[in-house]
Amino acid sequence: MSTERMKAEEFWNREHIVEKFWKGLADGVIYARKCKECGAIEFPPHIACNTCGYHETEWTTLSGKATLKSFVRTGILNARLELEDRGLKYVCGEVQFEEGPAINAVILGISKKKAKEVREKLPVAVRPVFFDMGRYTTLFFELDE
């Protein structure tokens, strides 16, 4: 028997997609994936394309330019505890990147009074906030005014 057997790491060495995404945020970079067939942006990044169902995507980055399309204020039933604990003012809303994908997101710096003003102006431009949560850096947004 040969002792020169192939190691698992030689034939199976795949992308660490989740890890790369979060490390990217710590460096102020928003990683996404782009479908090799339909060109749609997959965000947050996954292995395959959820727009057309093709199996392969490749790395790309997003500019961070985005639009807040709608939002809600939270109450005691649906507050985000990790933000309340930090005493942050925020709303939760639908944010669409200029490259296409839309996600539910947190928008910082919007008080109840401010929310009323912003609601009249929707959709409005927002920009990314790379927010240090201690053990990791996450992606929130703020008004781009």
């Binding site: 809600v72 649906n78 944010v95 996600i103 997101a105 947190v106 996450t138």
Partner: protein, 429 residues
């Protein structure tokens, strides 16, 4: 998301021939029920369903056990094997499943597929959750203590995607109000108008709950108003006695956490009448699942699941006589009713204000009171809806019987941030 699934015709038709359900209650506060366990609740519901179908445990070939959160609420994994002995099914095949608050609807989908495939002829499927309590340390199951918010709140994050969603914007926040906010914008309704609609909806569902012996909240809002010193029930509904808990929802539109179980027996339709004179056929089940990071996920998944089941059954919304919507988020009820075509687009809120969605209205829905009155035992709630649907379709609902005996009932399951099912039942007698 893609919307290209076309459901096939099953190998054989499947019918519900037996139903069983415990009441929904708070075992921490109710002295009569304190000390009961998951195995007993599931067991009693299962044996009631068997009795209703005229079978003994020895006749049942396989069972499904659903529960929303066995880790926190029961401190166990594989609950199916821990409950099997309670209703005489030791040694037979079974399966545990857990899809949050959609568990009870998926319970029927699983059983349907098991029988439709030809694999089994007599299948029990049920769900049980004891949502008001948790194990008192590592002790026998009858020893339970109230579920504390310190345990529950951090654990709620568990239903959101851990790779990304819960740490971005896919956790709580958008979950409750996204759809009603979208609807308000789309239809030019103010926050006050939405408030009126949701108060009326809760009021009418409570009218049904008051007439439903298994419901946990049965006191009509008029009575609660009077007790609190209000002559006008609508003034009470907008008072500090019914405070806002999100931007749009008041406590009356929030589910009432409960303990309870429900179960049913399914068999091939071709032999169904041997078991029950009034079999209820499960004619289709659409499915769509979206994580909470997707904007407007409940609307999108509901539309997709409904599209599938209408295509599978060849029915249209005009064929539906009765509707159940998992409304642990109160606004989901009339919003989903519109989305599946049961109420006209953009008009659903008027139907609510006019009471037409009440059990005695012309577009009845949630005739057991829904989650806000019947209560919400998480995974068990969907199966409790199926119990109520079959009861109504048999004409056995007594004082809360809908005016027209339903030929077709639509059930919109939802839960676990979020699984959606769209099931259509047809009376077959």
């Amino acid at each position: 998301m893609l919307t290209n699934v076309k459901l096939g015709k099953t190998l054989r038709s499947v019918s519900i021939v037996g139903i069983g359900a415990t009441p929904f209650f708070n075992a921490q506060e109710n002295e009569t029920y304190h000390g009961l366990t998951n195995g007993e609740l599931f067991g009693y519901a299962a044996l009631d369903a068997m009795k209703d179908a005229g079978v003994e445990p020895r006749d049942v070939q396989f069972f499904f056990h659903g529960t929303a959160n066995p880790g926190v609420l029961e401190k166990c994994i594989t609950p199916n094997l821990q409950v099997a002995d309670w209703f005489g099914m030791r040694g037979k095949g079974s399966l545990s499943h857990s899809e949050g608050c959609c568990t009870g609807y998926i319970a029927l989908e699983e059983a349907m597929m098991a029988v439709a495939s030809g694999m089994y002829d007599i299948v029990l499927t049920g769900a049980c959750d004891m949502g008001t309590g948790m194990p008192d340390g590592n002790t026998p199951s009858f020893m339970r203590i109230p579920l504390s918010t310190e345990v529950l709140f951090p654990d709620l994050d568990s239903i959101f995607d851990r790779a990304y969603g819960r740490y971005l914007g896919g956790g709580p926040g958008m979950n409750h109000d996204d759809w009603i906010n979208y609807y308000a914008n789309e239809n030019g309704l103010t926050e006050d108008q939405i408030d009126d609609v949701l108060c009326h909806q809760a009021y009418h569902f409570r009218r049904a709950g008051a007439l439903c012996p298994r419901a946990i909240r049965r006191t009509p809002f008029e009575e609660l108003a009077k007790e609190a010193g209000y002559d006008d029930v609508w003034e009470y509904m907008k008072s500090p006695y019914n405070p806002k808990v999100t931007q749009y929802l008041r406590t009356a539109s929030d589910s009432c956490v409960a303990d309870g179980a429900a179960a049913c027996i399914v068999v091939p339709t071709e032999i169904a009448k041997q078991f029950n004179a009034k079999p209820i056929e499960v004619i289709g089940c659409g499915a769509s699942v979206l994580d909470a990071i997707v904007p407007h996920l409940e609307k999108k998944a509901t539309a997709e699941a409904a599209r599938q089941v209408y295509e599978q059954t060849g029915l249209t919304p005009d064929d539906i006589d009765l509707l159940y919507v998992n409304d642990f988020i109160g606004s989901s009820a009339f919003l989903a009713a519109e989305e599946v075509g049961y109420l006209p687009k953009g008009e659903g809120w008027k139907y609510v204000l006019d009471g037409r969605i009440a059990f005695d209205g012309d577009k009845p829905m949630n005739t057991n009171g829904g989650r806000t009155s019947y209560g919400h035992a998480f995974g068990a709630s969907g199966m409790a809806d199926i119990f109520e649907a079959v009861t109504q379709m048999r004409g056995d609902a007594g004082e809360r019987q809908v005016k027209k005996l339903p030929k077709h009932t639509f059930l919109r399951g939802f839960g676990g941030a979020q699984n959606v099912r769209a099931i259509i039942l047809e009376s077959n007698f």
